[in-house]
């Protein structure tokens, strides 16, 4: 009996600890160092990457975020995480992305809402917790360019499933993004280190294609 009570107390305390630690994820964050990329491409992935031309293929030049992986590679714009009871909100300053992900363990991903209505190509996501780690799973990402900055020329198929783990550590946070895409990758894991930006706020980005596109230089340089 005493052992059961002790075990129950341990569970309650560790649950509370996990909850306290989860709360650490809330805030505004900037990259604190190098993102690391572990990748093994399939032959199709290598071939697609070899065809990449940044002047022609980079969606950012049309103010379109290729993927959350691409968005998080941009060094200076911060991200903001706000966890609520049934939803996590992530605001990315780069490209003014406002992402809403239901915290709904067990919900089939196919039935999840698109997390960024004005950019439906970023897919459908569901969040849940693994201890103190926030896990977001995503499918329904449109086939095309995945990254144009961290590892430019990476592509994705519409079979890709992505797991993002937000790992709290006080005023530090790691986001580990694992892409499962049998068409283009044997392995693709990107890890982003973040540090809290005290007093930080997400500013408007207001991207316009004519200002984002390098074509303006080519035209003006004539």
């Amino acid at each position: 009996m005493r052992k059961m009570v002790v075990a129950l107390l341990v569970c309650v305390v560790s649950g509370a600890d996990a909850q306290d630690k989860r709360a650490q994820l809330d805030g505004v964050w900037i990259l604190s160092g190098s993102a690391t990329i572990e990748m093994t491409l399939t032959p199709a992935g290598e071939a697609a990457r070899a065809r990449y031309d940044y002047l022609r293929d980079d969606p950012a030049m049309q103010c379109i975020p290729a993927s959350f992986t691409r968005v998080m590679h941009t060094p200076s714009p911060p991200i903001e995480v706000r966890q609520q009871k049934n939803e996590v909100r992530i605001n990315y300053e780069f490209m003014d992305i406002h992402r809403r992900v239901p915290i709904a363990p067990g919900t089939p991903l196919a039935k999840a809402p698109v997390s960024v209505p004005n950019h439906p190509h970023l897919g459908r996501s569901v969040a849940r917790y693994e201890g103190d780690v926030l896990l977001i799973e995503t499918i329904g990402q449109r086939a095309g360019i995945l990254d144009t900055l961290g590892a430019p020329g990476l592509v994705q198929s519409n079979e890709m499933r992505t797991e993002e783990r937000f790992i709290p550590d006080g005023d530090r946070m790691r986001v580990v993004v694992t892409h499962h895409d049998p068409v283009y990758y044997e392995k693709l894991v990107v890890t982003y280190p973040y540090q809290r930006l005290p007093g930080g706020e997400i500013l408007p980005w207001d991207c316009t294609p004519e200002e984002a596109n390098y074509k303006r230089f080519r035209e003006k340089a004539k």
Binding site: I30, L31, S32, G33, S34, A35, T36, I37, Y54, D58, A60, H73, P75, S76, P77, E93, T148, L149, G150, A151, P152, G153, V190, Q195, L197, P198, L203, W205, D206, C207, E211, A212, Y214, F217, R218, K220, A221
Partner: protein, 161 residues
């Protein structure tokens, strides 16, 4: 100092992991190993996202005027780093040091600007910013007095670092 000034170019090296550096949009387009010194009149200042731009009319040695486009960081980053970009005013004669474009002969990436009062506008860069944040500090890129070397810039001088 030089590292701080060309931070935008170095971000790729510092932030990108294994294969970032060679393909970063800044380092792909601009050669941060070269410094270009341009003296001319500002005709336009557009501080915006994703890249700011200063337009400069430079009188060349043969008397012809060449228009230069100076690319810079995004507006939000400059605001966060408290870079006083409003000191760049249309109509002012300034001397800008910049990294030249790899492809175009009238495009470069901003490093510093010597203003009409001889103070030097600089950008401390993202690396200095985030290191300061990690120490619980903030960066303010106050303009500084130029060194004697910077006070006598030559138009379109190209230096190898």
């Amino acid at each position: 100092m030089a590292k701080m000034l060309c931070a935008a170019g170095l971000i790729a090296l510092l932030c990108g992991g294994v294969s970032t550096a060679a393909h970063h949009s800044v380092s792909v387009n601009f050669d941060s190993s070269q410094v270009l010194t341009l003296t001319g009149r500002i005709t336009d200042v557009d501080i915006r996202n994703p890249h700011s731009q200063v337009t400069l009319k430079v009188t060349q040695r043969d008397g012809t005027v060449k228009e230069w486009f100076i690319e810079w960081s995004d507006r939000n980053a400059l605001v966060r780093r408290k870079v006083p970009f409003q000191l760049l005013r249309v109509g002012d004669m300034v001397t800008i040091t910049a990294s030249p474009s790899r492809r175009l002969d009238n495009l470069a990436y901003f490093r510093t600007a010597v203003l009409p009062d001889k103070s030097v506008l600089r950008d401390c860069g993202f690396e200095a910013f985030r290191q300061a944040i990690a120490k619980g500090q903030f960066v303010e890129c106050e303009p500084t007095r130029p060194s004697s070397e910077q006070s006598a810039p030559q138009s379109q001088q190209r230096e190898q670092r």
